[in-house]
Symmetry: C2
Subunit: 126 residues, 2 copies
C-alpha cells in the first residue's frame, strides 16, 4: 500500500526563454517568483495554484506543461502507472519521467510537500 | 477592476483517443469521470486536483495540457494578458484561446466555479 497525489504543475520552457517566461507568468498570475536553493532549473510561481506547487522548469526540449505525482513509494507508483499503459521516458535517480498513453508527460517523484499535508491530501493506492 | 484565478487543468486528447485516455487517467488518479450536461467534448476527472476542475478535452490537434483562467471580465483579462505578451489563437464567443510568449496555451473563460468560491479564491486585478 502506498499513497500518491498530483502535487506540481510545471511550465517547461527552453533554457534561453526562462527569464522572459518568468516575467510573463509572474505578472499573468500575480505572484512572486524564486528558485529553490540548489535548483536553479526551477522558478517557483508562489501560490499560483494554492495547495500545489507551480513552477517554470528550464528544459532542452519543446515548451509544454507537465504534472508531477508525489508518492511515498516511487517505484510502486511508477510500476502501477506503467501497468495502466504509461511508458518510461527517463529514470533519473529517485524519480521517473513517464508518458501517459494519451501522450502527456507526468513525473513520479518522492513526497515534496509537508508530511502531514501529504497524508491528509493523498489517495491510498491498494 | 476585475478578478481572476487559475481554475481548470485540461488534458487535451485527440477525439479518437478520448475513451482510452479517460480509462487511463481515471485509474491513474483514482477518480470517477463524467461529461458535463451538453458538453460531450469534456470528460471531467472528479476531484483529481481538489479545488480545481480537471478534465480531458477532445481536440483535433496535438495532445497537450493547457490551463484555463476564469474571470469576471473576460475581455479585460484577455487584454491584460495580451499586453503582457500573449497572442490570441482563437476568439470563440465568450472566451479566448491565448498563447503565452513561452508557447503555452491558456484560455480565458467566464467564471465557472461557484460565485462565493471564486470571490474567496481569486486575485484582484487593478
Amino acid at each position: 500500500m502506498h499513497r500518491s497525489r498530483v502535487s506540481t504543475f510545471l511550465i517547461d520552457v527552453r533554457r534561453d526563454e526562462v527569464d522572459d517566461a518568468a516575467a510573463f507568468w509572474s505578472r499573468a498570475l500575480g505572484v512572486r517568483t524564486s528558485s529553490p536553493e540548489g535548483e536553479p532549473q526551477f522558478t517557483t510561481l508562489h501560490d499560483a495554484v494554492p495547495g500545489y506547487v507551480t513552477a517554470i522548469q528550464s528544459v532542452d526540449d519543446e515548451p509544454r506543461y507537465h504534472l508531477d505525482i508525489e508518492t511515498d513509494d516511487v517505484e510502486a507508483e511508477a510500476a502501477r502507472l506503467v501497468a495502466l499503459g504509461a511508458t518510461v521516458v527517463a529514470r533519473p535517480p529517485g524519480w521517473f519521467v513517464l508518458r501517459a498513453p494519451s501522450g502527456h508527460i507526468l513525473c513520479v517523484v518522492a513526497v515534496q510537500s509537508e508530511r502531514g499535508y501529504f497524508e491528509a491530501n493523498s489517495t491510498v493506492i491498494s
